[in-house]
């Protein structure tokens, strides 16, 4: 079965496997590799039953749920299904719509749905209803019976017929409006769809149907609001199912990645769930086919009532060894290499399936890599084969499954998005094995969530090391939840071991889904910890309020970014001003020193746009760290009034006794120093910066600047900013005996935002300042 001879084709550049292994549903074609797994066969059987049911057979619509984990091939199945529908039905009588739920709400999903349909197409469907209405009205008399037949069978356009024969348009359109209102169970849609047929109203009606605010002519006709709620959007989708299933047409809608709209972390309202149920009923009643594809938790969130309305649940199982063998053969045949396995063999495929847990996306991605590795080694014919060692090598290769830097960036995004605090590389006791890559304290001091990062876990020893770390962390902390993020693969046999040591199964990093998965997992873990703490409800409430305000601050940060972008439009003017200032400063230096200036004389101070960033960071730190001011206030009070001086000393002892204060002072002090050091570093950069003859930044200078910024980032990443909350009471007001307002989380968030983005902003500002000098 497996030829041993080296394969000359391996030298060819064409890799039979997709690098990213993402299903291209709209691009599905006869050439797409598709293994007929049991799930795919089941889905196609259902589809054939739907497509081939004769008219008046009592055929009813159906709702199919395609359920599976990330990367198992749900989208691929949907693509296969839609391609099958396209190639096995009358194109004039079948309409299939594919929707990838990227937009997170049903309203956005509906907008994309209706864009697929196009105005003329929808109008043609309404025209068919109108033809029936008109034909019914004319069929009763032999005078008009011929016209009725011609209208009904489509030889005569009903709108034209009414116009040409001077028929009573208001009566027939009124009947159409009532009919559409009745079948769609929505009078507003009856009105809007009917207006599509009236000259002069089409654009306004279509505009409303595509989710926009109604034009005044529609408001006059009772359509007063846009399709802008989740409920309205779901209802609207049902309306089109009715419209497109009329006259025994076949209408198929596939909603892929439903989990982006509905998931444990994105629960719809009760009203939206009710509307969703109604939509399923409408699809079934309209004899249309609705395919919902998503993660299992989407269907759990939608609840039992929705589940009962799903006609068939198709679970997409992991690929078996046989499936994978077939996949490899088909993939090779697709590029003309024949149905061969080489450079794989059954043994390597078996191992491949083990380490990927049969996850289709991981298999294809790894196959791509392995094929390339085998090809690279093909100069030595006996080595041009995929081995277990090569599979491990590919699985450990960072480029196969994403880089640790990307993962860290995404983790930071998720944690900030959830409004959680974190510390990087935290040792939870003195043992180095108790290190959490990210430690997220929850509630009291001794509880939190630990996130551990690792590359592929393919052998026993690697799993053992991780289990050890989990055990040490659990021993070091009173209550902890543990999340393992794997940037790579986990051998199937090691999964249960890891699952038992951590709070749940490892999250295998996937660039498309990681953010959502981690967010859901973290939210759940934090919830578990909060429930377990049970203790002081006030503390739990305070934490929650504080988290909400952090989330709000993150939103505000987004707005600020927009503001920054707008401010950038003033850049040119400011740069010119900066150049002028620098030239004046240089001139002043030369005058003072009496020396002739050189062409690249070092600037004496930072350009204003760069200096401004440091000043603003310093100011935001000063709003949080008021220790100096508090101390000055205390000393000042001794000069005036002995009693006040005693009170001041008493007052300042309060914060000094708090165990939160000194870690907070340490953090504040480090931030001051970090800022100073960074500023000096940038100043030095300017002193040694030499522009290229074209005025551009030389690669060496650019790299020096990046290195400075990276240095800042590396240190900043480790600073536990949340400790600054310990400075709450160390303020001048507190020293004077006034009630001290708790440190505003908004100020703290502002500080975080400023320091978070400082390196990026400084880098951009420095480059802009020197480029602008020419």
């Amino acid at each position: 079965m497996n030829d041993v001879r080296p394969d000359p084709e391996l030298i060819s550049d064409t890799n039979p496997f997709q690098q990213m292994a993402v299903a291209d549903v709209p691009g599905f074609s006869a050439a797409t590799v598709s293994v007929p797994t049991p799930a795919i066969r089941e889905a196609l059987d259902l589809l054939d039953g739907f497509l081939q049911a004769p008219p008046d057979s009592g055929r009813h619509g159906n709702v199919i749920a395609v359920v599976g984990e990330y990367g198992t091939g749900k989208s691929h199945l949907v693509g296969d299904l839609l391609y099958h529908a396209e190639t096995h039905s009358d194109p004039d009588r079948t309409r299939a719509v594919y929707l990838e739920a990227e937009q997170k709400t049903f309203v956005n999903l509906y907008k994309r749905f209706v864009e697929h349909l196009e105005c003329d197409d929808v109008r043609d469907r309404v025209r068919e209803f109108y033809a029936d209405v008109l034909a019914d009205a004319l069929a009763g008399s032999d005078f008009t019976a011929n016209v009725a037949r011609a209208v009904r069978n489509g030889d005569l356009d009903p709108v034209d017929a009414v116009e040409r024969l001077g028929l009573m348009e208001s009566k027939h359109l009124g009947e159409l409006q009532r009919l559409l209102g009745r079948v769609t169970r929505n009078t507003a849609f009856g009105t809007a769809l009917t207006l599509l047929l009236r000259p002069g109203f089409t654009a306004a009606a279509w505009e409303w149907l595509t989710g926009h605010t109604p034009d005044q002519v529609l408001v006059d006709r009772g359509l007063t609001s846009a399709i802008a709620t989740e409920e309205a959007a779901l209802e609207a989708m049902g309306v089109f199912a009715v419209l497109y299933s009329h006259r025994d047409r076949r209408f198929i809608v596939a909603i892929d990645e439903l989990n982006k709209v509905v998931s444990a972390s994105r629960k719809p309202t009760e009203n939206a769930i009710d509307a969703f149920k109604k939509m399923l009923d409408v699809f079934a009643g309209a004899r249309a086919l609705l395919v919902l594809s998503g993660l299992p938790d989407s269907f759990e969130v939608l609840g039992k009532d929705v589940g009962q309305r799903v006609g068939r649940v198709i679970s997409v199982a992991p690929l078996t060894v046989d499936d994978t063998l077939e996949l490899i053969r088909q993939s090779q045949a697709r590029i003309g290499r024949g149905e061969r396995l080489h450079p794989f063999d059954e043994q390597s495929v078996r191992y491949l399936v083990k380490v990927t847990e049969g996850n289709a996306r991981r298999i294809v991605r790894l196959c791509h890599k392995l094929y390339r590795l085998a090809r690279d080694e093909a100069r030595e014919p006996e080595q041009g084969r995929v081995t277990d060692a090569m599979i491990r090598q590919a699985a450990r290769d960072r480029s196969t499954f994403g880089t640790i830097d990307n993962v860290r960036t995404e983790i930071r995004r998720v944690v900030n998005g959830l409004g959680l605090e974190y510390v990087r590389d935290q040792l939870l006791n003195r043992d180095t094995d108790s290190r959490a890559d990210y430690w997220l304290p929850v509630g009291t001091d001794n509880a939190g969530c630990a996130v551990l990062l690792t590359e592929s876990v393919l052998v026993e020893a690697e799993a053992e090391a991780l289990v050890n770390r989990a055990t040490y962390i659990q021993a070091a902390v009173e209550r902890t939840e543990l999340i393992l993020v794997v940037i790579g693969l986990v051998h199937e046999d090691l999964l249960s071991r890891l699952g038992a040591a951590f709070s749940s199964e490892p999250i295998i990093y996937d660039p498309w889904t990681f953010v959502d998965t981690l967010a859901a997992e973290l939210a759940e873990r934090v919830r578990v910890l909060e429930l377990a703490s049970g203790g002081d409800p006030l503390i739990a409430m305070r934490d929650r309020v504080s988290r909400v305000s952090r989330q709000q601050a993150n939103t505000q940060r987004l707005l600020e970014q927009v503001t920054v972008a707008l401010a950038g439009m003033r850049g040119t003017t400011e740069r010119e001003f900066a150049v002028l200032q620098r030239e004046l400063a240089e001139l002043a230096t030369r005058v003072r020193s009496g020396e002739p200036g050189t062409e690249q004389a070092p600037p004496l101070r930072l350009p204003p746009n760069v200096a401004g960033l440091f000043v603003s960071a310093q100011e935001s730190l000063d709003t949080v760290d008021q220790v100096d001011a508090a101390l000055r206030t205390m000393f000042a009070s001794t000069e005036h009034d002995l009693n006040r001086a005693i009170d001041a000393r008493v007052n300042i002892r309060g914060p000094l006794r708090s165990k939160e204060t000194f870690p907070a002072l340490g953090v504040a002090s480090l931030l001051h120093r970090l800022l100073d050091a960074f500023r000096h570093g940038i100043n030095d950069w300017y002193r040694t910066y030499v522009p290229s003859p074209t005025g551009q930044v030389q690669p060496g200078d650019r790299e020096r600047l990046s290195a400075l910024c990276r240095a800042y980032d590396t240190i900043y990443e480790y600073v536990p900013l949340f400790r600054l909350e310990g400075l709450d009471e160390f303020t001048p007001r507190a020293v004077e005996g006034e009630m001290s307002a708790p440190l505003s989380s908004l100020r703290l968030e502002h500080l975080k935002t400023t320091f978070n983005e400082l390196s990026n902003r400084v880098q951009s500002a420095v480059l802009a300042s020197v480029v602008g000098e020419r």
């Binding site: 008399s141 032999d142 005078f143 008009t144 011929n146 016209v147 011609a150 030889d155 005569l156 034209d160 017929a161 040409r164 024969l165 001077g166 028929l167 009573m168 348009e169 208001s170 009566k171 009124g174 009236r198 000259p199 002069g200 109203f201 306004a204 034009d215 005044q216 002519v217 408001v219 006059d220 006709r221």
Partner: protein
Amino acid sequence: MNPYVIPGMEHRPNGPLCPFEHDDHKKYYVPVDHSETRYFEFTEAIGDSSRLIEDGRLVVAYGRETCGKTALLNRCAKFVSDDLALREKRCAVIGLSDESSANIAIADRKKYVFRFVLDAIRRREWLEASDLRELQERQDDLVLAYRYLSESLPSDAVVVVLLPSIELTQELIDYAALVRPKLLLLAESSYVDEVERCWPAVQAAVPRVEPIRLMVDRLRVEDGWVFAKARQKLDAKDRDYPIVTEETMRLVTDRMKPSIGQLQRLLHGVYREILDQRAAGHALASPEMDEVSYEHITDFFFRASGQGLMP
């Protein structure tokens, strides 16, 4: 000569009769589809037209498309105009039946109408320049504007406005609220059920005198022949077209259940084709063909549905 072409309407053979523009149109009205009855209901309700100077009035003609609403209201306008002339009063008939489209918001449609009315009055030089300016400034509040107009018009003048066809009942109710002395608003609508449903609201909105509603409908079985007979010059020696018989017209009217407008379009089309064919020497339309049969008409109707034979 096609017997269904009315003098003055050669360019628009299926348009409504309009006696206030073409005096001789008066004699072309045929007592079909209750329109004669409705006309007399109107004249009786109006009585002495000079009373409009004191009260003003709203009249609503309603019935499906091509049932003769516009022709009926045109006749009513002519009646008022003639009656006022007899009483040495002035009357301005402003015909806006064809103006303004349905796909414009109600508020804008009403503004357009007011501007047309203002232009028509300006041309008649019935108002001082200062009044016209005041009226222009009041366009954003039409209740005030129409009130001002009513008060500013000469004491012996009535303005008759034939409004564009109304689809939405709210617009009808709005116009009811604008009725003022010296203003006769003639409205029409094809939306029969809607007008009947909103009629109590229309009545409640009219400030003074009860509004008048005139419903026109499809033809009764005998109406087809009444109409055809009136148009055919049965005893004319110079007749150059075949006739249609009472029996045929009863069949057509019974089975097609047409409106007066549809029948006009149909018969005008049939005769135009015959006359065109006859002029071209076509055998089927030879001078020997003396009668238009039922089959001839149904065949034409079917062909017309797909080919636009009826303009």
